[in-house]
Structure formats: structure tokens, C-alpha cells
Chain length 250, copies 2
Amino acid sequence: MTEHNPMIFEKVEVQPAYQLVASNIEKCIMQGVYKVGQQLPSELDLARQLGVNRSTVREAIRVLEQNGLVFRKSARRLVISLPREQDLASRVSQAMILHEITFLELWETMLPLEVRAAELAATRATEEEIERLEANLRETADCLEHEQKLVALDIEFHLLVAKASRNRALLLAREPIGLLFYPAFYQVMSRLNAKDRLLSAHREVVDGIRNRDAKHAAQWMEKHIRDFRRGYELADLDMNKPVDNSRYFE
Amino acid sequence: MTEHNPMIFEKVEVQPAYQLVASNIEKCIMQGVYKVGQQLPSELDLARQLGVNRSTVREAIRVLEQNGLVFRKSARRLVISLPREQDLASRVSQAMILHEITFLELWETMLPLEVRAAELAATRATEEEIERLEANLRETADCLEHEQKLVALDIEFHLLVAKASRNRALLLAREPIGLLFYPAFYQVMSRLNAKDRLLSAHREVVDGIRNRDAKHAAQWMEKHIRDFRRGYELADLDMNKPVDNSRYFE
């Protein structure tokens, strides 16, 4: 009998009360009703205003804390905050690991972002930023034989260039890829002698930035990222294999 | 007296139990102990295994649900899931609005990503993907006078090209920028007659993809994104103003 009964009602999707409250407060934050740094009304106040239980408000606040929109200054003081770049990045790179994204996919996306960052850095880097890049170069030259330090300095170098681009959209886009991309070079470094090439490419990029020569900086960054790929292949690593999840093993 | 007492103890940072439990389960998921699609043990089981209250487990699961790692199939069945691209993207674009990122920053980041997407699409697009792009072109030609539809088709066009790149890292990087970038063109469209240029650029990009001519596809995408900027400026919109948060006003 049920076979001949047409479906009339669609299943009702009930959103839990705490989620409704969370999106309500979130919307107020996004519209600027509550501004970053301001204090959120007390749980009791919010419960009264929204007509829900205090425990519902508490759960909603947990969601907002989790999303980085609210920061607990003390047990009772909740302050509106900016979501932190690192938290967002690690969330995205976590998704990349679960989606089994390959090293080739990371490389293909990193190439244009790093080239663009170098190009923009050449027009915008401050004196202080150039000095920090030069300090990084000196340390790199001193650490050529210490692979772990070298990888850490390499990661720092690329982050310094990206920051000198003064483009926060670019920083937000590259960070999750960088988290997975650069650490992989520990394997390349230890199998291959790519260290001198790395140092000289970094030097040329910094030269370009210091001389405000965007083209030079971009060209050398491109050469350098292409070298990464060659290194990966020469070290007999498979570009089509998913990036590893080893940073989740302590 | 207290002034002369040196500080010996650092403040203890207590992580709430539910967060410890959440990161514990998260690590198991990331390490593949629980795989996507598998069912999570029951709350009671988890509480026993982890030596905590059932309510602590429940709160931890809320965190995991919030992060898209766990999906509630029914009241009692929790299944490991992949974080959804759209959820991550809207989280990142939310952060971009709060950080008051400018249209110029979006544009500078979008340019290399879109060019790269077109280039890769030319080597990888399937027949079906090319057909969908051609259907989009036909609809665009029919909607030139309907601005809202035109913007929707423009957003779809760029997403179709990005998907045809078959690079999920690139998709994850561009999605949050695209969410803020393309809708802004509604303003440009309504102030300026850029419609014919838009259609012919889209046509050239699709030609490049269909003919497997990566250079042609990339060059026309670059031209097209540079045109966007010119349209923005000609429409007297300020590139240095933060992108608007109007999608949070219904």
C-alpha cells in the first residue's frame, strides 16, 4: 500500500538550538554589531535575549570558540576575536591529508603562489623584512650540513617572502599548502645534494627583492620551485602519492 | 614582599577534558585508525576506553562534528567523514572579512590561481567537463541582459575551469577567495558594459581548453582577470577598500 502512496512531506531537518544560537551570534559578529576586542554579553543575558536555556547558550559559545570567533579571557569574560591563520591553515591541511591530496597537486598550486609572493615582495618589502631575509640567508649558509635546521630555515625563508608580499589573502591561501609542502623536503635533502642550489636560489630571490627587481625575484623563485620538483623525482619519491600524515605521529 | 619573590612557577594551561578527548579521537582519524565512512564507537564505549564521563565524550563529538570530521547519521550512529570543501572555504572567507582584506589582495591572489587552473584544465579536462563549459557559454550568451544570472553563470564558469584542473589543493586554495571575489562583480556589471568582453574571454578560454592549448587558455584567463580589475576601477570602486560583508545581511 505504501508503494502507491506518493511522498508528500519532505523530511524535516531540525537544526539543534545551540547551532541556531551560534549562527545568530556569528551573524552579529560578521555584521559588526559586536566588534573584535569587544566583550560578549553574559551567558545569562544572551539566554534572556534569545529566549533559550543557559546551557544552550553555553554550547553555542563552545562552537564559536572552536571557530576562533570568541576567545575566553577568563571563566566569565568572552571577547570577540579574529580567527587565527594557523588554526585555519591546519584545518585545511588536515582536510588535504584526509582527501589524500598528492605532492604533485601541492606543487602545482604552490608554484604560482610562491612566484606571485616573490614578485609582490620586491615592490613592497620593508627594510626590516629585507634584513630578516638576509639574516635567514646567513644562517642557511652556516647550516648547510645540518639537514633538520636547513629545512626549518627553508620553511622560514618562504614564509618571510610571503609575508613581505603584504597580501593576507595570499598568506591565507598558501599557509595550508606550505604546512604540507616544505616539510616534505627533509626527505629530499637527506637523499640528494640540493643544498648549494637551494642557497643560491634563495640568494637570487633576496637580491631581486632588495633591488626592487620583481622580475628577477619571480624568475628565481620559479626556478627554485621547479628545482624542488626535480629534487623530489631524483630522490625517487613518487609525486603522485598522497602527502604523508606523519606529523600526526609523535 | 611579593615584589622580591622571583616567579618560579609558570601558569598552568589547563586544556578542558572535552578538548583533550577531541584531539585524541582526531589523531586516530588522521592516522587512519578510524577510516572515512567507518562508524565511531558508541559514546559509552569511548567514555570507558578514555576514562572520562559520557558528557565529556558528547562535548568532544560536538567539536569533531563542528570540524566536519564526524557526521551524525542518526541519533546514535556517528560516522567518520571528510571535511567539506564549502565549510572550510566559508570559514576562511569569514576570516578574510573580519581581517578586512581588500579587493586588491583578493585580485592579486586570484590572478595566478585562475591562470594556473586554466592551464591545467587544458591538459586534463574530460569531454564531459568541456561540454559543461560549452553549456555555460551558451547560457551566458542568452543572459547578457540579466545581470544577476550573468554573475551566477560567471561564478559557475570559473568553478568549472578550476574543477577541470583536477587539482584539489588548487580548489581548496581558490574557493574562499572566489566566494568573495566573483560576487563583487555584480556591482561592476551594473555600472559598466563589460558583458561582451566577458563572454568573448570565456569563449577563448574554452577554445584553449578544447584544443588542448594550455598557453592560449592561460593567456586569455590572465587577460580576463586583468579586465576584471580594470572594470572595478572604471566603475569607480576602490580596490583598497575591504571586501564587503553583505552576504551576511539577508
